[in-house]
Symmetry: D3
Subunit: 150 residues, 6 copies
């Protein structure tokens, strides 16, 4: 891993992530980790009569979590130190079905020093499916470690 610091991040920089095909196995592993087995995600018969879903779709937070991983691969893993601070706004815009492939276009929206150790960074993540539809907006906030002074 490279050793980037808060000072290396620049407002306005854009990153495009790799993609990931979301599958039914992800949905089931996610149930194991969280217990979320709502019929939206597990019951094909129920979904046939649902006003919005055609068939079982991924848990929204699963797609959000994949968005988080995209962020980690492009930015987070390269930071010497980082902490998840939170999210300012998340919107679920389209269901993601078994077999859909998503990737993320990310833009650094704000960088502010917080204290001597950490800087606060806002990254706007737009998750897009293989049809080009925006499926998730995630305004992610992290703390990035500041470069130690010489």
């Amino acid at each position: 891993m490279k050793q980037l610091y808060f000072e290396d991040l620049v407002v306005g920089t854009e990153y495009t992530s790799r993609g990931r095909t979301i599958t039914d196995a992800d949905i089931r592993l996610f149930i194991g980790a969280t217990g979320d087995d709502h019929p939206h995600h597990t019951d094909a018969e129920y979904c046939k009569n649902h006003p919005v879903f055609e068939r079982p779709c991924a848990q929204g937070v699963l797609v959000l979590s994949v968005s988080d991983t995209f962020f980690a691969y492009e930015i987070g893993f390269n930071l010497a130190h980082s902490l998840n601070y939170g999210h300012d706004k998340i919107r679920y815009l389209q269901p993601v079905y078994d077999g859909d492939t998503v990737h993320s276009v990310m833009r650094i929206a704000a960088c502010e020093p917080k204290d001597a150790t950490w800087g606060r960074v806002v990254v706007e993540c737009n998750v897009i499916n293989q049809k080009g539809q925006l499926v998730l907006v995630n305004h992610q906030v992290i703390l990035a470690g500041r470069r130690p002074s010489a």
Copy 2:
């Protein structure tokens, strides 16, 4: 499942969820579903030298996802129709380690009709660990199906 509608939810109502002990197995299943294997969550040697974590902790979005399940068990599963709309604000306040047990105290903060089919509901979820520490704040926004008129 019961068949509650938007009209049955009342601003100010509080709900206390069951609890869940977060374990290393959850962290690993979550990696399978999302790919997020940051050393924060998987590398005990790395964490020994980390400025904040003592040892590997759960992914923040995993704890958020468990919070989502707590919401589903107390409110979401009882609604005739619902959709995840998003989150207005999420803050990660304390790490959750293997073996920590969390539960959620939820309060309906806002209920607004959106259109003839759906109402918009904001639920403030405070996730608390076995020591009584607030570990996560999650302002969750859902759409709840409106009661069909007679």
Copy 3:
């Protein structure tokens, strides 16, 4: 969770559960938890020549376990205290293939006080697939906590 007691359960009451689509991912997770990777469940070529199965099917005990969860969602989770006592009779009647959706129709068949703390409850669970076929009969026996006297 609500706080029902043995005294709240009534012989003859029927419950219809939500559904769950059983998928290949369930079969594989189940192998991880149990080691049961019989070719009936994992080997598509072997199943082509099998006298009964057309293709890999779910482990019988996996379907039984899902039946147990249906019971928990409708009855077990609502009891203040409960213990699994056993099963009086289980019959596997039809294979459940990847993609089949099952639900359970349950009927309380017997309620007998056991001692001051527990009552014994027999629930006949009929698990039915999306074609209306009965795939599993499970006569489940639980102990339900008795209501504390005032």
Copy 4:
């Protein structure tokens, strides 16, 4: 795999299986496959106040499923053809906690021809933990393929 037939099984034969240590990861994988995340299995704080359990224990059907695998390893995998018919009686006698190691002592209790293709076999499985306690009784019924006549 060897090619045993119904005719090769002898009433009274005893088999002792290998063992398996049941762990928290098994419990979580099982949740993924079935959705059964009852606080008995996932909530350490809840279990502290439970009248029977000291701490989270394995789902009863998980232990039953492991018993099924023990049967498969010793008998089922060696049969040319077999089908799960059901269980005549299952009793959960002791909780199995994370870290307990169980094995099974099995005895063929009955063998009856059913038709020209299948024979019906009852196997009494006693699952025992590392302390020598009987934790589960499982009277398993299978159909074993009959030897083709020359």
Copy 5:
């Protein structure tokens, strides 16, 4: 389990394993256990433009691991004592896609006593898919426990 010893293994003996259909769920579980979520295995859009793969394929080491299990079922599980020593040569010859069924043809290539306790055994494993294509060659080396002298 039977109790075979090094002395029971004979150079030139061939074994044909059962088969296993490799599925997307295996690929995802494998990510959980190892972190290997290369787009070769998870990103259907990426694979469309790949010079070799048509669609996501199993991790090579996953297929190797299944080959190892085939070895265990036919030989390793039957040994009183065994240790994995290593592999002399492994070649990945064809991608294995979701839904492909593989089995292994194994031949004992060498047996040499190592010391009073262990013998060294080389097994050439050829893993073949449902089309008859050789997908993996694995020259596996194990230590097998020697028969205790009387």
Copy 6:
């Protein structure tokens, strides 16, 4: 992902990977993906009497697979195109137990053009645990895509 080509890799370059703590959950997920539930990895009572293992250890191929991921993170993920070719030699030197943390020191040992599209690269991977013990040697062979000529 960066876009490195065969021509960018230099014999003798060394890479040190991040670490990963191997846990029981990895062992169980690995069973789900492969079926390998040998008592070496799952039966604590069996291991107490084993001549080498003190307690259940990770499957050798699981450690090998983690070594593969370390390679991917440092080298493989940065290549524009790559294929797993095989391994020339793998040796399992020490058991890896639940809770051990391993990392890999890798050295490019050979780079040879294969044809106009691919070059053959041998990487010697030494996997080391938290005590500094060498647990696995893996001579990995990959094909790296050659830089398109202008």
